[in-house]
């Protein structure tokens, strides 16, 4: 009898020990992530949360919706949102039009050539945003290079207004945003099994028909995800519109900056920022869902056997 009782006791203490071991394991893992999490929470989550709170503080210093009301009603804010969305839409459209053919070609290249082509996409990605913006400023000015060449070639007589306006801003932003479209789209295109195109050809589809009926539909989730990414980043963009827009293009982020640096109007600035955040997160959620859809479509989901 004694032997059995002793076993029963050590069983129980084993169970305890095992559970505390497992807990210790959990804490260790958390511990590894701890510093990073701590940093992010303190330096980002807390301030952003604060901003949320601030957006609901009215001029009197008490809880109020007035900041959001003003966003909704004021004409100048309406204009700012309109321009911001216009810029984002046009930039996204241009990136899609010029980015799709490039990405398609890259996806069809053999590995070596594709890697080299990828460098031309990554290089601007790794180059400072300011440098790229500055380069466009130089190219697009009245006395800049593009006008200079056009005049020398006799195509135009007077310099075109290419910068400090909507056009210049769009040109600059398109170049800067393009990698954000190309990269997810490329991943999506590479995941399309080449056998689908062979099957389509075998079944009678000419290369053009095979592209439109099989390849293009399968690339859409990646394309939409890339477009959403470009759209969302364009919405919140700051540096390029300031420099290339020349004060004529006022986007949301710029207004936020002005509210703080010129007026110290934390209520207005934070309300604007919150709206921007909500739009951003909504688009990102949709993009994430699209990328998941991509995975299911390329056949890595579903039953087998």
């Amino acid at each position: 009898m004694t032997a059995i009782t002793q076993d029963a006791i050590s069983d129980v203490s084993n169970e305890h020990g095992l559970r505390s071991d497992e807990n210790r394991e959990r804490w260790m893992v958390l511990g590894l992530c701890g510093p990073a999490l701590f940093l992010i929470i303190i330096v980002m989550v807390v301030p952003v949360g604060w901003l949320f709170w601030l957006s609901f503080i009215g001029a009197e210093g008490s809880f109020s919706w007035e900041n959001y009301e003003r966003l909704w009603q004021s004409k100048s804010y309406a204009r700012i949102f309109k321009i911001t969305f216009e810029v984002a839409f046009v930039t996204t459209g241009i990136c899609m039009l010029i980015g799709y053919p490039l990405t398609y070609m890259m996806s069809q290249l053999p590995r070596r050539a594709a890697n080299i082509a990828m460098i031309t996409v990554l290089l601007p990605f790794w180059t400072s945003l300011l440098v790229r913006t500055y380069a466009w400023l130089v190219l697009l000015q009245r006395k800049g290079l593009i006008n200079g060449w056009l005049i020398d070639a006799g195509i135009i007589d007077t310099p075109l207004r290419l910068v400090h306006n909507f056009t210049g801003n769009i040109i600059g932003m398109s170049q800067i945003m393009l990698p954000f479209l190309v990269l997810p789209l490329y991943a999506s295109m590479k995941a399309i099994d080449r056998d689908y195109l062979k099957a389509a050809a075998n079944l009678g589809a000419s290369p053009v028909a095979a592209f439109w009926r099989v390849f293009f539909p399968l690339s859409l989730p990646g394309l939409f995800a890339g477009m959403l990414l470009v759209f969302v980043i364009s919405l919140g963009f700051f540096v390029t519109p300031v420099v290339l827009g020349g004060g004529r293009i006022i986007m949301v982020a710029m207004r936020v900056e002005k509210s703080i640096s010129l007026y110290s109007n934390w209520g207005a600035a934070s309300a604007l920022a919150v709206v921007l955040l909500i739009l951003t997160l909504a688009c990102l959620v949709v993009a994430a869902k699209l990328l998941k859809l991509d995975k299911v479509q390329s056949g890595s989901g579903g039953s087998d056997g």
């Binding site: 990073a36 980002m44 053919p101 490039l102 601007p124 790794w126 130089v138 195109l197 540096v239």
Partner: protein, 271 residues
């Protein structure tokens, strides 16, 4: 020209039929790469106005950069902040990626999302939030404040790069080491870390570059003596076109290219 008739893929479509695609893609690639490159020859011109090609080749504007006390201070600040960001974000991000990789926690999904937040929240919002926080803590215009903010921004990139490196790493090696008597920490430091060092270094380079190029947070949080190079450049661009910027840009491009080449080389070695 027989290349034009050769098939470009198994569906036997010829290169010739795809020529238009190659041309369009080529143009887009030039659109991506060339504009930034324009800055380089311009920085070697002597004139006060931007001109291309330079009539007289000189290092005048490089001189202007290196001689200017304000620019040198800004450079020192930027480099200091970038190096400190590298030193802070790289180990933090690496450990976090490792922790997420080995955990069988349900929570790790949520932790991963929190780690990705800095990439999802608009930078302007982060910038004013941090500004607000630092104003209360008296950390405006401090190097440490900037380092903390940049590390936070760079962290997700380090985590993503190291996490993907861990994915192609065989964790069994660590288990073998532990079965042979090594503690978990020792196994990580002596077995795993050396083998993922390429990902770690790439992540670190990304952190460095992110900090060096960062504009918006720096705009709010750095200033006075501790202004960063990006803040000065941004203000200069807004006000007037100072050709010194061309030389600074060239130097920044050089830094980017060197880091990119280094990262690519590391990536290839891993393959």
């Amino acid at each position: 020209m027989s290349w034009l008739n050769a098939p470009a893929s198994e569906t036997q479509i010829t290169h010739g039929k795809r020529l238009w695609l190659y041309i369009v893609s080529g143009l887009v690639m030039m659109f991506l790469v060339l504009p930034s490159l324009i800055v380089i020859p311009m920085s070697f011109s002597e004139s006060k106005y931007l001109e291309f090609p330079p009539e007289v080749w000189s290092m005048y504007w490089y001189g202007a950069y290196f001689d200017s006390k304000a620019w040198m201070n800004a450079t020192r600040t930027s480099l200091t902040v970038a190096v400190l960001t590298f030193l802070l974000a790289t180990p933090m991000g690496t450990l976090a990626a490792y922790g997420l990789h080995v955990s069988r926690f349900r929570f790790s999904m949520y932790i991963y999302i929190v780690m990705s937040l800095p990439l999802m929240v608009p930078v302007i919002m982060i910038a004013i939030g941090v500004f607000f926080l630092y104003a209360k803590l008296g950390m405006i215009n401090s190097i440490s404040g900037l380092v903390l903010a940049h590390s936070m921004l760079a962290m997700p990139l380090v985590v993503i790069v190291v996490a993907s490196g861990l994915k192609s790493y065989d964790m069994n090696q660590e288990m073998v080491a532990r079965s042979l008597g090594a503690s978990r920490a020792r196994a990580f430091l002596t077995i795993t870390l050396p083998q993922i060092r390429f990902s770690v270094i790439t992540g670190g380079l990304l952190a460095f570059l992110t900090s060096l190029d960062e504009v918006i947070v720096a705009l709010f949080v750095s200033g006075g003596e501790n202004a960063t190079i990006t803040r000065r450049m941004f203000n200069a661009l807004r006000d007037q076109i100072d050709p010194t910027i061309a030389s600074i840009s060239t130097l920044l491009i050089t830094v980017s290219v060197i880091l990119l080449v280094v990262a690519q080389m590391f990536g290839k070695e891993r393959d």
